[in-house]
Subunit: 330 residues, 2 copies
């Protein structure tokens, strides 16, 4: 029976992953017997009879915390915990403490356990498109250089390098997956520059107005929460031999312009929903987003069986199926 | 008057850089008034009247050491210190302590000084071709992904990422230069897999036999110690604006096969010298070196004025001019 640990289980993706693992009941044909949910605040435990679910809270940047998490020898560790990009940029020390030292502490705790008793878990690390920085080609290949233009992206890129080296040395069996921008993100608008990518769909779908601060020709790389959770679950089961020593990769996604988003909204919710989007240019936001990636090949991930959403319309439908009821209840 | 600090001053390149700075007497038109030489063991101070040279020894992986080095506010810091690749592979903890924590401690000490009084030195960081790992194209462009296959290469790649982020945040003005394999390395053969690249020239030039463990078609990327020292001196003076936010780059070099090396030796020292090379295949060494880079474009470095050796013959002549007398005296 597999023992799984989710670090960062209280966030939207961590919560979704916990629910998905409970629903699947297995990873790669092996039954899940135990699930530990960890975050800085207690995560919500899904109700299930067959799996023993425990909830722990603590600070991943403390060495002892990482050692305690590893003490029960989880077979699969999902490491999603991170200070988000805006906060890592505002608070330099905190970003490095959580995103770099926290990750390194976890990897070091596993290495020490490996030296003690040969412990060697699968580690799934969620990285980010923020590892890429301009100048970028229109379509970014799997061999494109990593040049982050943010402290968050730097910390994720360092996490990828550590994951690859610790895996090469045999301390654990790691896989790093760069998630596309999540869309439609459920909940409320936030201060992120990219918040409108979800907002111009989520708000009109709920009958509310939304502001579009960029030109409709702006193109970016997206995955639904459902697809992103699917990437994590699939990453837990990918055979290490197939990775051929390359442990980190960009996940497949849907490359779409804002115009594509709007047409998907129109197809599903009609002209009245589209009419709720107010065009109000914000040159600051446009300047930030113009340096972001537009599209990827993601050939390695596709060959390994990672599956993107089928279209932008599929992204909108996944939101309505997975979250719209929650949203109405909230 | 400039105050310069060389960290790793007791090594072959650090020693050569100190001599070069003393000989030049200036960096980018600004006179050098003070030169501090730091290493784990005391470096040899060049004799000079115009510049105040001090020698310090200590452990760069201690936080206090980094703070003490920064206390005198050097205008230019050359950070060359590292555990070499073989040792970093054998001793995992030591490699990370010196090559990662040592570098981060230095950068953190500068950041804290920057917060205190706006201190913002030029930092020249020597990185390595070891940041690249197979599969590699025959000619590697400036935008090729970094996938180290050694702990040393991982530590250098992380140093590059930190350098770029600390520079972007304005804590210092950094430049990271990936040095080609140094050839002809003066001194004795060592245990490195690449030792023969120098040995098959250095030994025959001194009338001694040498073993060639790989096929003569093996191709790699080289710079003389003179060129490498020139890269460091030039890096100290490159304008930050010209870097355009990309702080790390591969240095230009000479792409040569072992056959090219042998022909250069023949042109300079004749058939008798070439006859001292004994071909004795070592499949283990051949396997390692077959995954190493063969050639680079290095366009960014060339545009910034970094100058490679003119040919492999020039590399051999530079050795005879710069080191052959030393070698005979040793």
């Amino acid at each position: 029976m597999l023992h799984c640990l989710i670090i960062g289980a209280a966030g939207m993706l961590g919560d979704g992953l916990a629910k998905r693992l409970v629903k699947d009941g297995e990873i790669g044909g092996r039954k899940i017997g135990r699930l530990m949910l960890f975050d800085i605040v207690p995560a919500q435990a899904p109700h299930v009879e067959e799996i023993s679910v425990t909830v722990e809270a603590g600070d991943i940047s403390a060495v002892e915390t990482a050692e305690q998490l590893v003490a029960s020898r989880p077979d699969v560790i999902f490491h999603l915990a991170a200070i988000v990009s805006g906060e890592a940029e505002r608070d330099f020390e905190k970003g490095y403490r959580i995103n770099l030292d926290g990750t390194r502490n976890l990897f070091e705790a596993i290495r020490k356990a490996n030296e003690e008793d040969g412990y060697c878990p699968r580690v799934v690390f969620t990285s980010s498109l923020a590892v890429f920085g301009s100048p970028l080609p229109d379509v970014i290949g799997d061999d494109h250089i990593i040049t982050p233009h943010s402290s968050y992206g730097t910390q994720k890129a360092i996490g990828e390098l550590l994951l690859a080296d610790y895996s090469r040395r045999g301390f654990f069996d790691g896989i790093g997956i760069r998630l596309p921008t999540i869309c439609i993100r459920p909940g409320k608008p936030n201060a992120a520059a990219s918040s409108f990518y979800s907002g111009i769909l989520r708000e009109p779908l709920a009958g509310l107005p939304a502001i579009l601060p960029v030109d409709t020709s702006m193109r970016h790389w997206f995955a639904s929460p459902r697809a992103a959770i699917g990437f994590m679950a699939h990453a837990a089961a990918v055979s290490s031999e197939l990775l051929a020593g390359r442990r980190n990769m960009t996940m497949p996604g849907v490359s779409a312009t804002v115009a594509d988003e709007i047409e998907a909204l129109r197809a599903i919710a009609g002209d009245a929903a589209v009419a709720l989007i107010r065009h109000e240019k914000d040159p600051a936001i446009e300047a930030i987003l113009s340096t972001w990636p537009q599209a990827f090949e993601a050939d390695r991930a596709l060959k390994l069986g990672f599956e993107a959403d089928e279209s932008f319309e599929a992204i909108v439908r996944a939101y309505l199926e997975d979250y719209a009821t929650d949203a109405e209840q909230a």
